[in-house]
Every structure is written in structure tokens, then in C-alpha cells.
């Protein structure tokens, strides 16, 4: 039992079809230590945890390569339940609690303490009586150990989110024989003081001999809590570090790294700063999962501004808020004119167009033809492509066809013709249709949100080149939101990093990896230095 590591995952490799999401990753966790697992979105953290918990999605897609050792013994974990019996617990990012149940019931769910009764003697274990007293005292003990004073018979419904997090932790601790606890971004929903408390609890749990895997993107928390750190990038192990021997800057640098070659290279130029195209002050956007909490920035006419940051930090909220697709507040001026928020048509009329990140949900009419998609916004907002007969406005099929054919040629949309339904196109071509629709508006200002998400590499290149062409040749001001930092760095004039709904810093594209890494975890590089 005196193995060095409570958990050792050796040379884990996982493919989804032809996609390698994990290659040769090793993770080692000592008993009683807090081990931080770091990485950008898509670095492979979740997949690694799915492997650890034996999630069905792993088995259903052909299993994985490598081996998992618990206490030095090779183990095969077949299901999340199996993982639980082997002493591995998980504190989820989204709470897995039943709102209508009390704290005790949630903690003891499916592990209830029961007493036998006459009925159960006849009909079996499922009919046994709950021993509420024993359950409450066990729940109390678990709650105390995470430092929660809340009554164990309170209902979960209506509790502050921080409390729910602790209830969840208490549930895991209450399980007997727990050896390893995984915390998946536990501090994301907590206030600063709650986060501090959580870290204290984590340390207390670790001292009692339970090992913790701490998944987060907040580098300062890592430095505060973790004993050792594993960094993943693009499904590969970057390094395993001990806290004492590293610094926050090194972590940031390792996390970002340089990923491959730039797909599009743009000649460096001086950032145009003569005229402000879009001025945003105190923007708050209520977009679930991508809240923006008070962002102010200016976009200069003729530049390409990039907005980067990790997923769920609010970068997508900015274009969606300015375009009033979600409830937003703040002051927005476009070319000197005040833009009224809360009215999607007003933004479009003011000459702002947007290519949404949610292509199928917001970006396209999947059941309608390419040409109807392309002309739709211009027709509805600007009244173009219409033939007027008295008071009746009918759509002008000829003009629409002409425009669609022009766009298909210009953007190289691969299709059978302008009447093909957009739902039958590939992702890249759908994206091009979205761009065509935005361009048909003849906008002065363009928001593109995650333009390269889920499309193949050739289409990616074409989309980025199109954006550069629009900017350089037509002088269109563009704001591009992307999770791919490399992409932003290749075409943007300035890159704005957002974390937790707030603007961290605006960096030049040639700033160092460490600066980007720090900014993404919410630390302004200048202040750190």
C-alpha cells in the first residue's frame, strides 16, 4: 500500500475517429497532495478525466491506450460507478444536486442509512426505512469538515451557488474509502471569499490524506493551493512541475506555447488610431455562460481587433451584447452616433453586421436556400431586393439570384447552386454563407465570432484571408472573436483578452506567450511584472 502515487495514468492515448485528442499523456498524483491540471480549452483535460472515470463516451469510441494505476496496481475502470467504488470522487462544475431535496438527502442519495422493517423483510432492501437520525449526523460531520455551518435539513433549492459547491464536496467526502477527489473548475462560480474558503477546505482534505486533482485556469489559485502541476497543451503533456520550482510566468508560458505555423501571414503595420469606430463603455451582457461584466473599449476605424480568452469568460458576450442578441446594458457609440441597446434591428441599421458563433442556431435558416439566406437580412433591415407593387413589397428573385451568384463566386462557396438548402452544406461553406449574408448588408463594421470553429483547414484559411481582404481593400473595421489565439495573432492589429467577464488587457499580436497566458488567467501582465 505504500506506492509512491495514489494515481498514475501512464502514456494515455485517445482517438476520436481520426482525431487524436490525447497522445502519450502521463499524470501522477501522490497521496495527500493537491495536483493542479492546467491547459487551455481543448487541451485534453476533460478527456483525461473521462478516461479516469471510465465514462461511457470513452468506451463507446473504442477505449484508450495506456494504463491506469491506483495505489501502484493496474486497474481497469469500467464505469463512473466503478470509479466511485474504487475511491475516486468528482466535484462537478455544474452541480449534480437535486434542488427539491434537503442537504442531507443530497449527501446521502443512493447511500442512505436504513433500518429493516417488517415490509422490507418480505419485499427486500428497497423497502427499508430511512434512518434519518444517522443520516443527518453523518451529513453534519461531512459539512463540518468542509467548514459549512448551514443546517443539514435545508433544501438545496435557493441556496447560494457557493453553498451548493460545498454540499457537493461534502457529499464526496462522506463517501467511505475515498482516495482521490477531482475538482473541475470549482472556483469558477464562487466569489473571492468563497474561493479562499474552498482552497482552505481543499488543503484540509489533502492533509487528511486524500489526494486532489484541481482543474482550473486561475494561475494564482494554482500557485496558492497546488503542490505539483501538470500542464497539457493540444492533447500532449507539456511538463510536470513542482510548485516550489516554478513561477506563474512560466506556467502561463507553458500553457499557451506556440502552436504550429500561422496559416495566414499579414504584413505588420502601424495600428490605425485616427478615428474611433466603435466605443463601448460599461457593457454588461446577460448571456448565460458568457456573461460580460462591465467592459469598456474602443475600436479604431480600419483596424482588426481580436478578442480572446478562455471559454466561458465572456468574449462571446461582447459581440452578442453590442448586437442586442442578448439582454445588455451600457453605452455604445458607433461612428459617433449613440447605438440603442436592446434593439437588434437598430444595430443592423447602423451598419454593423455580425457573423454569429452559433451558425446553426442563429446564423442560418437551415431549411431555406442559400440565396434566401444571403439576401434575408438586407431585405428585412434595409428593404433591398424587393419589388414594390403599390403597398405590397415582393421579393425580387432576379436581384437575389444575381447577388447570391456573385457571393458564391467571390467566397468560393462549394454548392450545387444558389437554390441548395443551407442545411445540406458543410460547416465551412455554411460559414461562408453567413459571411456572405453579413457582406450583403454592406456593413461599415463587422463582428465575426468564432469564424473558424468546426470548419476544415482550407475553409479556415479562406475565411481568414477574406477578413484581411475586406479590411485592407474595403477599409472595413472588423472585430474578431476567437478561442484560437494563434488565429488572432496572425491577422489582428490588437488583441483584447477577456477573463471573467472583464477586460484584462489589450496586447499587440507579438506579445509573449507568457503575457497572453497571464492575461487569460485574469492577471494583467504589466502588473505582475
Amino acid at each position: 500500500m505504500s506506492a509512491e502515487y495514489v494515481l498514475e495514468m501512464r502514456n494515455i492515448t485517445k482517438n476520436y475517429g481520426e482525431n487524436t485528442v490525447l497522445s502519450d499523456v502521463t499524470l501522477q498524483v501522490r497521496p495527500g497532495e493537491i495536483h493542479a491540471l492546467l491547459g487551455e480549452n481543448g487541451a485534453g483535460k476533460s478527456t483525461l478525466m473521462n478516461v479516469l472515470f471510465g465514462m461511457p463516451v470513452i468506451h463507446a469510441t473504442g477505449g484508450f491506450g495506456g494504463e491506469v494505476l491506483l495505489d501502484g496496481e493496474a486497474t481497469h475502470i469500467t464505469s463512473p460507478h466503478d470509479a466511485m467504488t474504487k475511491g475516486i470522487g468528482m466535484v462537478h462544475q455544474e452541480f449534480m444536486l437535486l434542488p427539491g431535496f434537503t442537504v442531507t438527502e443530497n449527501i446521502k442519495l443512493n447511500r442512505e442509512v436504513t433500518r429493516r422493517n417488517p415490509v422490507s423483510r418480505l419485499l427486500g432492501r428497497n423497502m427499508e426505512t430511512l434512518d434519518m437520525g444517522a443520516m443527518s449526523s453523518a451529513a453534519r460531520k461531512a459539512l463540518d469538515s468542509v467548514g459549512m455551518s448551514i443546517d443539514e435539513y435545508t433544501r438545496v433549492e435557493g441556496m447560494p451557488v457557493g453553498y451548493m459547491q460545498f454540499v457537493e464536496i461534502a457529499r464526496e467526502i462522506d463517501k467511505t474509502g475515498i482516495k482521490l477527489l477531482v475538482f473541475d473548475e470549482p472556483t469558477a462560480v464562487l466569489t473571492e471569499s468563497e474561493a479562499q474558503q474552498l482552497i482552505r477546505v481543499m488543503k484540509a482534505i489533502a492533509e487528511s490524506g486524500i489526494a486532489i486533482i484541481f482543474i482550473t485556469h486561475r494561475l494564482d489559485e494554482v500557485m496558492e493551493a497546488a503542490d505539483s502541476i501538470t500542464i497539457l497543451r493540444d492533447g500532449k503533456l507539456v511538463t510536470r512541475l513542482d510548485k516550489e520550482k516554478t513561477s506563474i510566468v512560466e506556467l502561463a508560458e507553458q500553457m499557451i506555447g506556440r502552436k504550429g505555423e500561422a496559416m495566414v501571414s499579414v504584413e505588420p503595420r502601424a495600428v490605425p488610431q485616427d478615428e474611433v469606430a466603435l466605443s463601448v463603455r460599461d457593457l454588461y451582457v446577460n448571456m448565460s455562460g458568457e456573461e460580460v461584466r462591465g467592459v469598456s473599449f474602443d475600436v479604431f476605424k480600419g483596424e482588426i481587433l481580436g478578442i480572446g480568452g478562455l471559454a466561458g469568460q465572456g468574449k462571446l458576450g461582447i459581440p452578442n451584447g453590442v448586437m442586442s442578441l442578448y439582454a445588455s446594458s451600457g453605452e455604445v457609440e458607433i461612428f459617433g452616433e449613440t447605438l440603442q441597446l436592446g434593439n437588434a434591428a437598430a444595430a443592423l441599421k447602423a451598419g454593423i453586421a455580425m457573423v454569429s458563433e452559433d451558425r446553426k442556431g442563429v446564423g442560418l435558416l437551415l431549411d431555406q436556400s442559400i440565396e434566401d439566406n444571403i439576401a434575408f437580412t438586407a431585405m428585412q433591415v434595409k428593404g433591398e431586393y424587393l419589388t414594390k407593387i403599390g403597398p405590397i413589397k415582393l421579393k425580387n428573385s432576379g436581384a437575389i439570384r444575381h447577388q447570391a451568384e456573385r457571393m458564391i463566386k467571390e467566397l468560393d462557396i462549394r454548392c450545387f447552386g444558389p437554390t441548395q438548402h443551407s442545411g445540406t452544406l458543410s460547416g465551412g461553406n455554411q460559414q461562408k454563407v453567413c459571411i456572405a449574408r453579413a457582406l450583403t448588408m454592406k456593413p461599415r463594421f463587422l463582428f465575426v465570432s468564432e469564424p473558424t470553429r468546426g470548419i476544415d483547414i482550407g475553409a479556415k484559411k479562406l475565411v481568414l484571408e477574406t477578413l484581411v481582404k475586406l479590411n485592407r481593400e474595403m477599409g472595413m473595421t472588423i472585430v474578431m472573436v476567437s478561442s484560437e489565439l494563434q488565429e488572432l495573432r496572425s491577422i489582428c492589429d490588437r488583441i483584447m483578452i477577456v477573463s471573467e467577464g472583464k477586460l484584462v488587457d489589450i496586447l499587440p499580436p507579438d506579445a509573449s506567450d507568457a503575457d497572453f497566458g497571464l492575461a487569460m488567467s485574469g492577471i494583467k501582465p504589466d502588473e505582475h511584472k
Binding site: A344, V362, Q380, I392, L394, G423, T424
Partner: protein, 622 residues
């Protein structure tokens, strides 16, 4: 062997069979009017005549035997009971003897041929005269009869009695007297019958005058062939059981069924084409439409096979399509604006019915009545539809169940309302008590058949309800124009992807209101079109199912619950109504005894719909 190859082989075999059938049918069909057919019919006629006479003779002999036995018994001094038993025995014996031996003709039957032909010709002359005379009589007395019927009706209305359905006016034939020409023709026919009788007596020496007199009506019936063609005569004589005696039964059968062979050829070629182009058709039309289309074509051929009047059935289909099309069209704005199938259509139907009731109450006749009915109906429908839309906007995502419940509720609510609405016309109210009638008959003073009869014309049995079809086309065209308008495009975007529409600054709720109101208004117009063609307005629970019928029709046409086109309305209504219209008479022939045919009809039609819906594939993005 690949699937493709199998398809080709099956198609080739089918076509080969079809070609053989076509050749055989083609050769034999023209023979119907030729000498061969005449010969067959004459042969059959003589045969039937002989059979009938033979059977009559047997009966005569049996009767003679009975009388003899009775007389003999009486002579022997038996009791009445014993005598009867003896007579029975003698009758059975005689019958058995003649039936086992057969009544053999005693002379060459060929002597019958010329005399029968002569008699037939004479009879035909007489009946032609009779028909002509009767027609002339009816024509002369028609106006009189009509006036009497109208007076009676008016008297009923004045007395507050129920008028009931309008019956066709009939002329009392009791005053008809035979013309001299007729009598002369009848006399010469009787003269020629004497020759027939003589010939028969020669053949059956046992036949005496009194027996001949008894058999005369039967013989006349056999010989008479007033205006009947080859097929009817053939069927008639075959039904009399004279077929076995034909010298060449196969040839006769081929001539009789030559037309059915040709229909079969066409059916097989259609089948072969379907087999050959199955994939393409599936992709273009989708399985449900193929299944229903094939079913419809099959019904058409079955109608021909059973000698039902296909043109008049198709013309019926056309009428029913026109009747229902506007109600089906009402589904279009509903689907396009995102409330899915508007099963709350009864709201519109009820509004339309109220409009119709108003014109009868106000006594506005004809075209203006119809226009006023539509105007009032639309007004009510628009208001109700708007309220209904507000409800639907509050319950987004649950449209299917909400519309269904609203549809049912409004029908039930109106069941109370029909009893208390302040209509006073005797045409509308029950003669006693309060409330409106269940079914309100429309007549020439209202808007009955106002569209059906407009510019209607006939081609043989095929009546084209021009006005109805024009109205349907007009409504479809207006709807099509609307879908191409700026508002229409915005509305269909709302139905297609509400978030997309919102991102373009379109007021989603407003578009849904427009769509719902439009759908309800079309429902109101639809029920009026339906009523004017049907000739009745049905109140109370009648509108309950109509929403479902309209929804089924548009689904069959190829629409889904989220997208549809005008063509789906037309195709769907035609197929649905066509299958229903043709299905009923065919089922009646297949299973005589009407209730089963009705059950079968529902089974077939609804089963097909269900099947079509489970297979709702096809080129949904076409």
C-alpha cells in the same frame, strides 16, 4: 445480382406481360361492334331463350304431373293429406327425370334465329317510341310540378315546419296515355312473337299455348335489348347461366374483357415505371406520396375494372378537392410562422359558420350573400385569431397540444353558443324551442353551389366545377404572393429559426400573430367554400375533426410540421380526397353491404395516413 438488375428484370417482365395483354386486348376490343360480337350475343340469346323455355317446360310438366297425381288419388279415394303426399312424390319424380335428362330440343334451333331477331327489332321500336313519348310528357308537365313543389315548400315555411332537404321534382305519370304509334308498334311486336312461339313449339313439342302465354314476359325480357351494349348483354346472359353452351367461350371472354386487359396493360406499365425509377421517385416525392399515389392509381384501375364511372368519380374528387383546399391552405401560414399544425382551426371554421348564418338571417341571396358571409366570417376570425395568437405566444414550444385543446374547447363552447345565439330565421332555428338546427340546408336563395356552378361545364360524365377551382387557385395564388412578400419572408424565417429572425430584429411575436390570424381567416373562408359546395352548414360537433383532416392532407402533400409549400396543399388535398372518394365505391363493390365498406374506407384511408406519417421522408429540403 444487384438490386438495380433485379429492378430491371422485374420491369422487363412486367412490360412483357403488359405488351401481351395490350395486343390481345387491342385485337379483341374492336370486335365488340363487329359481326363476331353480334354472333356471340345471338348465340347467347338463343341459348338463354332455350334455357328459359326449357325450365318453363319442366315447370309445366311438373304441374301436369301434380294434377295427374291429385286426380289419380281422388279416383283411388285417398284422403286429402295422402293425396298431397302422392302429388309431392310425383312432382319430385318428374322434376328429377327432366332435370337429369335435360329438356332436349326436338328440332334444329337455327329456325329460332330469324324470328327472334325480328321480334327483338319490333320490341326495340316499341320501347323507343315509349321512351320518347314519356319524355315528351314529362317535359310538358315539368313546370306545373315544380310550381306545385315550390308552393308546398313555401306553405311549410309559412307554417314554421321543417323544410328538410330539397328533393328533385318528379312529374306524376298517372296521366300518361299510350300514343297510337306505340299501340301499333306493340301490335306488330305481338305479331312477330307468334312466329317465335311457333318456332319454340316446333323445338319443344310439349310446349302448348297456355304454357307459352305464361312464358311470354320471360321471353320478352330475354329478347329485349334496349340500348344495351355488348358488355351489359354479355353480363346479363352470363348471369342467367348460359355461358357453358358457347361454341368459343374464351374468345367471347376476351372480347368481353378486352377493355379491362387494356386497363391492366396501363396499370402494369405504371407499375414497371415505378419499379424502374423507384429510387428517383422516393427521393423526389418521398415514400408517403408514392404509397398514396400508387394507391390512388390502383383505385382508378379498380374503378375501371368494376365498371364504375371513373370520370364522374374523378369529377367528384375534383369537387371535394376544391371544397377542402382552402381549409388545407389555412395550415400554410400556421406552419410557416412556427405554430406548427394549426389544429385550432375550428376557431376559424366557427367564425365562417357564423358569417354564413348571418347572411341567411339577413336574407341576402346569391353572390352577395356569399361575399357578406366571407366578410363577416373573416372579421370574426381575425379578432378570435388575434386572441388565439396571444395565447399561443405565451405558450411557445407547446403549440401542438395547445392548438388541439383550443380546437376541441371552441367546438364544445360553440355547442352551447349555437343554442343561445339570437338568430330568428325559421330556416336556422328549430321549429320549437330555442337554438339552431344541427344541419342547415342551403338552397338557391342562399349561396348553395355558388362557386361550383360558376362557369361549370361538362365533358361527358366529367363535370368541371370551374368556379370552385378558380377560387381555389386564386386563394393559393394570393397565399403564394404573401409568402414572397417582405412580411411573408420574415414570417417563414420566424417559423424556420426564431433566433435567426430575432437576430435580424424581426418581432417574432408579431409574425406569429400575423400567421395565426391569417390561418384562422383562411379557415373561415374555407368552411364557407366547403358549405356552399356541400349544400349544408353543419353546426355543433361537425367542425371538430376538420382541423385534423386538413392537417393530414397537407402532411400527405409533403409538408412537415415546420415547413410547407403551396404545392403540398394541392397535391395533398387531391390525393387525400381522391383516395377517399374512389375508396368508398370500390370498397362497396369489394364488400357489398354498406357498413363494412365504410369501416374499410376509414381503415384504408387512416391506415395509409399513419403509414405515410411514419415514413415521412422524401426530399424534405427540396
Amino acid at each position: 445480382m444487384t438490386k438495380n438488375k433485379v429492378q430491371r428484370i422485374v420491369a422487363i417482365v412486367l412490360v412483357a406481360v403488359a405488351v401481351v395483354m395490350a395486343v390481345v386486348g387491342g385485337i379483341h376490343l374492336p370486335q365488340r361492334s363487329g359481326e363476331k360480337a353480334t354472333a356471340i350475343i345471338e348465340e347467347l340469346r338463343i341459348r338463354t331463350l332455350l334455357d328459359v323455355t326449357g325450365v318453363g317446360l319442366v315447370d309445366t310438366y311438373v304441374e301436369i304431373a301434380r294434377e295427374e297425381a291429385m286426380a289419380k288419388g281422388k279416383a283411388e279415394g285417398l284422403s286429402l293429406k295422402e293425396r298431397k303426399v302422392k302429388a309431392e312424390e310425383a312432382m319430385a319424380e318428374t322434376r328429377a327425370k327432366y332435370e337429369s335428362e335435360g329438356v332436349e330440343p326436338q328440332a334444329d334451333t337455327a329456325i329460332l334465329l330469324p324470328v327472334v331477331a325480328e321480334y327483338a327489332a319490333q320490341l326495340e321500336v316499341y320501347y323507343d317510341l315509349k321512351t320518347a313519348a314519356e319524355e315528351a310528357y314529362v317535359e310538358a308537365h315539368m313546370a306545373e310540378a315544380e310550381a306545385a313543389a315550390e308552393a308546398e315548400r313555401q306553405a311549410k315555411i309559412d307554417a314554421g315546419q321543417e323544410v328538410g332537404e330539397e328533393k328533385p321534382v318528379t312529374v306524376d305519370m298517372s296521366g300518361f296515355v299510350a300514343t297510337p304509334e306505340m299501340e301499333a308498334a306493340l301490335a306488330s311486336a305481338d305479331e312477330s312473337f307468334v312466329a317465335v312461339g311457333e318456332a319454340l313449339m316446333q323445338i319443344y313439342p310439349a310446349l302448348d299455348d297456355s304454357a307459352l302465354k305464361t312464358l311470354k314476359p320471360t321471353i320478352t325480357n330475354v329478347v329485349l335489348q334496349q340500348g344495351e351494349g355488348f358488355t351489359q348483354l354479355y353480363d346479363r346472359y352470363m348471369a342467367a347461366g348460359s355461358g357453358e353452351a358457347l361454341t368459343n367461350p374464351v374468345n367471347a371472354w376476351l372480347i368481353r374483357y378486352a377493355d379491362d386487359l387494356l386497363y391492366g396493360t396501363a396499370a402494369l406499365i405504371v407499375l414497371a415505371l415505378i419499379v424502374l425509377f423507384y429510387e428517383t421517385l422516393c427521393k423526389k416525392l418521398g415514400i408517403p406520396r408514392i404509397v398514396l399515389g400508387v394507391f390512388f392509381i390502383m383505385l382508378c384501375f379498380m374503378c375501371l375494372w368494376f365498371d364504375l364511372s371513373l370520370p364522374s368519380l374523378l369529377s367528384n374528387t375534383l369537387v371535394r378537392m376544391g371544397m377542402n383546399a382552402v381549409m388545407v391552405l389555412a395550415m400554410v401560414p400556421g406552419i410557416q410562422c412556427g405554430i406548427s399544425l394549426n389544429l385550432g382551426l375550428p376557431i376559424g371554421l366557427v367564425a365562417g359558420l357564423i358569417g354564413g348564418l348571418c347572411t341567411i338571417e339577413w336574407g341576402i341571396p346569391g353572390v352577395w350573400g356569399f361575399i357578406v358571409a366571407i366578410a363577416v366570417g373573416c372579421l370574426i376570425a381575425a379578432v378570435c385569431g388575434w386572441l388565439y395568437a396571444l395565447l399561443l405566444n405565451r405558450l411557445k414550444g407547446e403549440e401542438m397540444s395547445v392548438t388541439t385543446y383550443v380546437g376541441f374547447s371552441i367546438v364544445s363552447l360553440m355547442c352551447i353558443a349555437w343554442l343561445v345565439l339570437p338568430f330568428n330565421s325559421l330556416k336556422l332555428r328549430w321549429p320549437m324551442g330555442t337554438g339552431l338546427r344541427n344541419t342547415i340546408g342551403l338552397d338557391s336563395t342562399n349561396f348553395k353551389h355558388i362557386l361550383d356552378d360558376f362557369l361549370a361545364f361538362e365533358i361527358g360524365d366529367f363535370t368541371i366545377p370551374t368556379g370552385l377551382l378558380l377560387f381555389m387557385a386564386l386563394m393559393c395564388f394570393l397565399m403564394w404572393l404573401f409568402t414572397r412578400s417582405k412580411t411573408g419572408v420574415a414570417m417563414s424565417a420566424v417559423g424556420n429559426n426564431p433566433r435567426f429572425a430575432e437576430a435580424t430584429g424581426i418581432n417574432v411575436d408579431k409574425m406569429r400573430i400575423i400567421g395565426t390570424v391569417l390561418s384562422t381567416v383562411l379557415g373561415a373562408i374555407g368552411i364557407l367554400v366547403y358549405s356552399q359546395s356541400y349544400g349544408f352548414m353543419q353546426l355543433y360537433t361537425a367542425p371538430r375533426q376538420m382541423g385534423f383532416i386538413a392537417a393530414s392532407a397537407i402532411l400527405i402533400g409533403g409538408a412537415s410540421t415546420s415547413r410547407c409549400k403551396i404545392s403540398h396543399v394541392i397535391i395533398g388535398t387531391f390525393l387525400f380526397q381522391g383516395v377517399l372518394t374512389l375508396g368508398m365505391p370500390v370498397a362497396n363493390v369489394l364488400v357489398p353491404g354498406s357498413t363494412i365498406s365504410e369501416t374499410l374506407r376509414i381503415l384504408i384511408s387512416n391506415g395509409i395516413i399513419l403509414y405515410a406519417l411514419t415514413k415521412s421522408g422524401g426530399e424534405s429540403r427540396a
